[in-house]
Symmetry: C2
Subunit: 283 residues, 2 copies
Amino acid sequence: MASGLVFPVCWFLLLSSVCGGRRLQEEESTALTLESVRKFLTREEDSIVFSLIERAKYPRNAPVYDPSYLGSATKFHNLSLVELFVRETEAVQAKAGRYQNPVEIPFFPKDTTLALVPPYNFPNELHAAAASVNVSNNIWRKYLDEWLPQITSQGDDGNYAPTAAADLVCLQALSRRIHYGRYVAEAKYRGAPQDYNTAIRAKDRDALMKLLTFKSQEDAVKTRVEEKAKVFGQDVTLGNRVDNSSDTTNYKVDPVVVYGLYGDWVIPMTKMVEVEYLLRRLD
Amino acid sequence: MASGLVFPVCWFLLLSSVCGGRRLQEEESTALTLESVRKFLTREEDSIVFSLIERAKYPRNAPVYDPSYLGSATKFHNLSLVELFVRETEAVQAKAGRYQNPVEIPFFPKDTTLALVPPYNFPNELHAAAASVNVSNNIWRKYLDEWLPQITSQGDDGNYAPTAAADLVCLQALSRRIHYGRYVAEAKYRGAPQDYNTAIRAKDRDALMKLLTFKSQEDAVKTRVEEKAKVFGQDVTLGNRVDNSSDTTNYKVDPVVVYGLYGDWVIPMTKMVEVEYLLRRLD
């Protein structure tokens, strides 16, 4: 408790000494291109698959998500351990500057606070009026209600803090990927604004969705993350390599489940972000 | 700041409502065997390799480790951002009960606080007088001073909070693995106490180290983690599989470096923990 009470105050004391921008970093402006966007998304797939495998190391651990677990005689009535954990951890990460980078979006922005590190000039490639597109609530609910039951086994091993920490890593990776739809949309728009302007002005979501949909590319992504779940989720023993058998029981998360999660949620939610971003692109 | 100040207080309010042990979990006592120990250590290798790959996603980001970065006009004179970050995050995880499980050891125990979740009856297989063996300071320094420069590229991308968060995941995985030496030693001792008692009574570290050393097994572990670094750190593209070329530049962390880190630090430090544990095994 000492630290919890003392640190926030002391971090605040630090503020004056570090916020003079003494060390404003210079970074080359990275041009946003379809190629750079694709590279980012491909690398994020690895992070997402790693995070799911690491979460699957622990069983379901239902008390983490049970709003009654922490009792109800407090102002946190109906808050789960995972929510309290994420709120507090995001507050720490905000102080260390995580959300200065527009690529990162907190789940509980009201609990995040002023960064205590000097400002860093992250490249901001987004159109200001559209940058705030946010589907965090949706990601949070889908992850807890639909993803988790598919990637974890029944059971309770009491490792609730490591479980919640693993959940946060999953949630952050998923959120970063899905909200990167803003950058995807920006890159596509810059490449051919004339293709989008009519649909944007008509607020025609269906037309935008059509313009953004490339089924063969989506299929390739789904197949690749399934492959990554096989490669990263296998038991590596000396001399063995990934086999191509259809038996998925030997992997740490079921590759077919990861394929489905990407196809049913990650890709559609990313496209939802792209559409919402484009609808504000001319504001 | 609101959360930082408000949450610790409110977590405290929760205490009374949840610490009645309302939900004391029952878990089958898992018998500690050499087989169960080996299984744990093998799975931890995956976690360690994943964590190193995820840390290597970001460049060195030197300000995270620079004690002068946060200024010196505070009580945190000479504390780095990574240290402040780990202290605060460990405090949050302690409240969620992380360190109730003797497998987990904090780097800054003075900053961890009473768990706010009900007690969970984790199996405690360790000999009480020997369980407190702790090499956290050593791990902390080795990781920051020697490992990090080898797994990260030069550079600064401003992502200091994600960098510190990735460091913490590495540190926790390494600490869990190395401190699991206590369980390794306990399993070995239980299997043949007569082999160890003489050396323990004579406080003969060298003799104990000899008893605990199996070079061929250590070589197999090093080779396997090198292989894991190749398998998990490759760029998975459709149709490709791990190649066996000696060119390691295509992997996200250099497999040869991971081999060396395990051989030079992880295995020796685990054995150091085993020896120190055994020296207290008859206390």
